[in-house]
Each structure stands twice: as structure tokens, then as C-alpha cells.
């Protein structure tokens, strides 16, 4: 896989004092410097879960991502915001290689999960380790129990009792257990929209993913269901690395520890969430979060 050694023309050049907090321009920087920069960005005790370096993404001839480089911290919530079509969902779908289901897509660059190149790993094992929740809830036309058990059965190796126990634990983690425990064997389609989305989260959690990707998981939900999911994410971050794409800036501010801002396929800025929302380093970010465009 070709790897870029020079930044794309027009990619953001962090100014001197921002070098530590904006890995967007780090593609060209030696790894040692980047490591030092991240150490400062992440703070003590925060480890790196995924490292993306010089990522370019193409749909046939048109490029959707330009030289994206950043590191995703373990057991924290990382959010990506930006206007529609900025590439944030595309970025998310490279992290579990889900983009490969779309014909004509191509990726250049390096994506590492605990130091391993995800393109060297078996695609099914990448997706087991990096789970995903989609914008539109997509429960299978099966019972609630069978939905959550699906990934466990695909992986195999568990007894019926173990499956049942993991299903319960996942539904508890997804804050859905109390609402469905009396009807586990009814169709998942009988649940409300918000419950269906939490069921999809439970389904993803059942296989104990190391990273959970969420692609605008609340965009079809009302504020109460949204609040439940946000609360759930905050609780999950103790045991799971969470990456969420959202077009709702308040949501990013509420749930995330780190926030990245995408604009026209480029990662403009990536920093601690307070920093991004209180004192963004770049004008484009400020314009976006203050509602001047997008």
C-alpha cells in the first residue's frame, strides 16, 4: 500500500505553538515528534488505540479524504464533527474496513490497531475487534435475543448458557435489559426507534469489541432517546474505545473527550474537546462551531 511521505498541498500547517495539539499536519513529521506531540495531547496514562497515518480515500476517481493523520486514545470517546459530505463517515468506515463493501473504493495510507496494520489482518477479525453502529438502526428480522446473540454465534465457541449470559450482560450495558427482559424472544421490530438503536449497540457490544464506531447513531431519534444513548456512551468509555461521528456539535461537546473537525475531506483540527469548543486553533473550526457555515 503506497504511503504518503509528504503532506498534500493545502493540508493544514499547524503553527508553532499548536504543533503539539494538531496531529492533522503530522503526516510528514517523524514518528518520534508525533509521539511526543500525542503524549502531550493525550496526557499521562492515556494510551493510543488506533493510529491513522497519511490516509487518502478515493471513490473511483474522486478523492474523499486527504492525508488524514491522527491517533485515537484508548477507553475515551472521540468525536468527529463537520458538515455533510466532509468525509467523516467515510473516515469512520475505513477504521473497520467497512468501505470495502462498496465497489470502486480505494485507500492509501496506514491504519493501525494496537500497532497492527488493519489491512494485514483478516477482515472479519478487524470487524470483530472494531464494532460498528449505524445511522439507521438495523436490527435483523429475528428476536431480540437472537439479534444480540448473532455476533456470538458467528464467532462460535460459546455454550448456550454462556451465550445467554453474554446477551444479558450486553443488554444491561446498553441500558436496554429492563425494558426487554420479559420479551427477549419477541421480534426486534416491535421495539421503538430508540430501543432498536440501543439493541444495535447491545448487539455490537456482545462480541466485546475493543473499539466501537458509531455513525450518527442518534440522527433519527428524539431528544429523550438521544439522551439515553449519550449517557450510555459515557458509561461505556470505561471499557471500550468509542469513536462517534455526529453532525450535532452539542452532542460532540457533551459526550466526547477528544474532537476532530473535518472539512472537505481534510482533518482541520483534532484536540481535546474543551479546546475545540472553547478555543479552536483554526478559523474554519471556529466558523463551524459558531454556526457561521455548515
Amino acid at each position: 500500500m503506497p504511503r504518503l511521505t509528504t503532506p498534500m498541498p493545502g493540508s493544514p500547517k499547524p503553527s508553532e505553538e499548536l504543533a503539539g495539539s494538531s496531529p492533522a499536519g503530522d503526516a510528514a513529521a517523524p514518528v518520534t515528534v508525533q509521539g511526543a506531540a500525542s503524549a502531550e495531547l493525550f496526557g499521562p496514562g492515556v494510551e493510543e488505540k488506533m493510529r491513522i497515518t497519511g490516509l487518502n480515500f478515493f471513490y473511483d476517481k474522486s478523492q474523499a479524504l486527504y492525508d488524514v493523520s491522527l491517533r485515537i486514545p484508548t477507553n475515551h470517546v472521540t468525536a468527529f464533527i463537520g458538515p455533510s459530505g466532509c468525509g467523516k463517515s467515510t473516515f469512520l468506515r475505513t477504521l473497520n474496513r467497512m468501505f470495502e463493501t462498496v465497489k470502486g473504493t480505494r485507500v492509501e495510507g496506514d491504519v493501525r490497531l494496537d500497532g497492527e496494520d488493519i489491512f494485514d489482518l483478516d477482515v472479519t477479525s478487524v470487524r470483530r475487534r472494531v464494532g460498528m453502529v449505524f445511522q439507521k438502526s438495523n436490527p435483523f428480522p429475528k428476536s431480540i435475543f437472537d439479534n444480540v446473540a448473532y455476533g456470538l454465534r458467528v464467532n462460535g465457541g460459546l455454550s448456550r448458557a454462556q451465550v445467554a449470559e453474554r446477551v444479558e450482560r450486553s443488554l444491561v450495558r446498553a441500558a436496554l435489559w429492563d425494558e426487554v427482559k420479559h420479551k427477549l424472544h419477541e421480534s426486534a421490530y416491535g421495539l421503538s426507534g430508540g430501543q432498536q438503536q440501543r439493541l444495535c449497540i447491545a448487539r455490537a457490544l456482545a462480541v466485546d469489541p475493543e473499539v466501537l464506531l458509531l455513525d450518527e447513531p442518534c440522527s433519527a431519534l428524539d431528544p429523550i432517546a438521544t439522551a439515553k444513548i449519550e449517557e450510555l456512551l459515557l458509561g461505556l468509555a470505561d471499557s471500550c474505545t468509542i469513536v462517534i461521528v455526529t453532525h450535532n456539535m452539542q452532542q460532540a461537546a457533551r459526550v466526547s473527550d477528544y474532537t476532530g473537525f473535518f472539512l472537505m475531506g481534510k482533518l482541520v483540527e483534532f484536540d481535546r474537546t474543551e479546546q475545540i469548543f472553547q478555543a479552536p486553533a483554526r478559523k474554519e473550526t471556529e466558523d463551524y462551531i459558531t454556526g457561521r457555515f455548515g
Binding site: T124, F134, F140, P141, Y150, V154, C200
Partner: protein
């Protein structure tokens, strides 16, 4: 033209078109009910228990039944399903899920061509490859002919219903680390199951009435035809034989057989539609 004039013209055109479309609709429904009613009047009155339980009587004796033809048709349709459905289903899965653009297009086109091959030609084909090899007519040859006729529709309806499964379901399964075959077998095919079954039932109903390919494959038989290796009676071929005979009693029996065949096909059709509408309701939450 004044606005009132334009309006009168619009109303007139509207009335003419409404009349034409309405008449056509009435004609279509009328034809169906005419056929149904005629067969009912002529056939149902002759129907008795003996029709379903007894063998045909020799010429000159009245009464008897077509039990052998009913069993023969059932055996041939079962054989046709056993041959046509697995091939058609797997071909449909290939086209919907695995086929690459160019080759899949060629296969789709050939499938449609096969669908357009006249049934008598399919009959000649089965005659050549089965009857000539075995040196006699048989239930097997009839089943093979009907099975070949079932393939194209089974392929295209399976393909269509698989395409209708939402992309989100596929992604949901893949995102849990399911390999593609597993995603297809455990999520996509079950989600399309009711549609696929409906398509196959309609396919079966279509070939149940085929006569031409049976005339020189299963041929016909006035007696029972045990196993799959002998000439066998079937309802459509029996209707043909009895209706073209010079005997009034045979004509009555032919109407009865026609009525039974039509009821059978209608039952399959209606239950297929019921299955499909139930599946749509369940998907609509």
C-alpha cells in the same frame, strides 16, 4: 378557447378515458369470471368423490375418475420443484450476491431467453435427453421438462427479493465479523425468505397447467404409474385427451378436470399472495 370551453374539453377527455380504462378492466375481470363460472357450471356438477379416487373407465362405460392423473401431476410437480428450485435459487443467489457485472448480465439475459423458450421446445429437449435415452415415456421425463421450465422464474424472483433486502442488514452482519456466506445464509436469505417462497409458488402454479411439454415426455396412462419410470397421466394431458375425444361423458370429465386444475392453481396463487402480504406487514413494524 374560453376557459369554460377548455374545461368542457378536459371533462370530455376525462370521461372518454375513464370509460375506456374502466371497460378494459371490466373485460379482464369478466373474462376470468366467465372462465371460472363456465368451468364451475360444466365441471363442478360432474365432480364426485369417484373423480378423486377412481381410475378412468374404458370407453363406453360412464363414471370413473382421474385419481391417477391427480397423483401423476403431483409427482411431476414435486420432481420439477426438486430439480428447478435448488438450481433456480442458487442461481438467483449467485446473480444477486456474487455475479460480476459483465458475466451476471449475460446470465440474466440467457435466463430471460430460457424463460421465453416455447414450452413445446422444452418438451422436445426433455424428449431428446430423457425419453430417447430411456426408450420410453416416464414421470421422470415430465418432471425434468417442468423442472427446466421452473428455473428461469425461480432465478429471477430469488434475485429480485434478495436485492430488496436493505443494505443496512448486510452491513450490520458484516460489522459483527460475519463472513459473507454466513451473512447471506443467516440474515439476507431469511429476510427474503417469504418473497422467495412466494416466487417459487407462483412459478409452480405456472407450470402446473403446462400441457405441451408433457405430451411427449410423460405421455399419458389410463392406469396407475408406480415409481417414476413409466408413462404417467397428468391433469393437463388428460384434459387434452378427453376434450378432443368424441364421447360426451369424457367431455364432462374434461371439464371436471379443468375445474380441479384451475382450483389448484388458484389456491397456490392466493396462498402465495397471502404469504407475501403477511411478510410486508411484519416488515412495516
Amino acid at each position: 378557447m374560453t376557459s369554460a370551453g377548455r374545461r368542457r374539453r378536459r371533462d370530455a377527455v376525462n370521461n372518454v378515458m375513464l370509460t375506456l380504462t374502466g371497460l378494459s378492466t371490466l373485460l379482464i375481470c369478466g373474462l376470468l369470471f366467465f372462465v371460472l363460472g363456465y368451468l364451475f357450471l360444466k365441471g363442478a356438477s360432474t365432480l364426485d368423490w369417484a373423480f378423486f379416487t377412481e381410475l378412468p373407465k374404458p370407453v363406453g362405460e360412464t363414471g370413473g375418475g382421474m385419481a391417477n392423473a391427480i397423483v401423476g401431476s403431483a409427482k411431476m410437480l414435486a420432481l420439477a420443484t426438486a430439480i428447478g428450485v435448488p438450481i433456480g435459487f442458487l442461481g438467483g443467489v449467485y446473480l444477486a450476491e456474487y455475479g460480476q457485472k459483465g458475466f451476471a448480465f449475460v446470465v440474466q439475459y440467457l435466463t430471460d431467453l430460457l424463460n421465453g423458450v416455447p414450452s413445446i421446445v422444452i418438451g422436445i429437449f426433455a424428449y431428446t435427453v430423457v425419453v430417447l435415452r430411456m426408450h420410453h415415456f416416464s414421470t421422470l421425463a415430465g418432471g425434468v421438462a417442468l423442472g427446466i421450465m421452473m428455473i428461469p422464474i425461480a432465478v429471477r424472483s430469488t434475485e429480485e427479493f434478495l436485492h430488496a433486502v436493505p443494505r443496512g442488514l448486510r452491513e450490520g452482519a458484516l460489522a459483527l465479523g460475519a463472513p459473507k456466506w454466513r451473512m447471506l445464509a443467516t440474515v439476507v436469505v431469511p429476510a427474503a425468505k417469504q418473497g422467495i417462497i412466494t416466487g417459487i409458488m407462483l412459478d409452480l402454479a405456472r407450470v402446473a397447467g403446462e400441457t405441451a411439454p408433457l405430451l411427449f415426455t410423460s405421455f399419458g396412462n389410463q392406469f396407475w404409474s408406480p415409481g417414476f419410470n413409466q408413462p404417467a397421466a397428468s391433469l393437463p394431458a388428460m384434459i387434452f385427451k378427453y376434450a378432443t375425444s368424441p364421447y360426451a361423458d369424457w367431455h364432462r370429465q374434461a371439464f371436471a378436470a379443468g375445474f380441479v386444475l384451475l382450483m389448484l392453481i388458484l389456491t397456490i396463487n392466493v396462498s402465495a399472495r397471502l404469504i407475501l402480504s403477511r411478510s410486508r406487514l411484519s416488515r412495516a413494524r
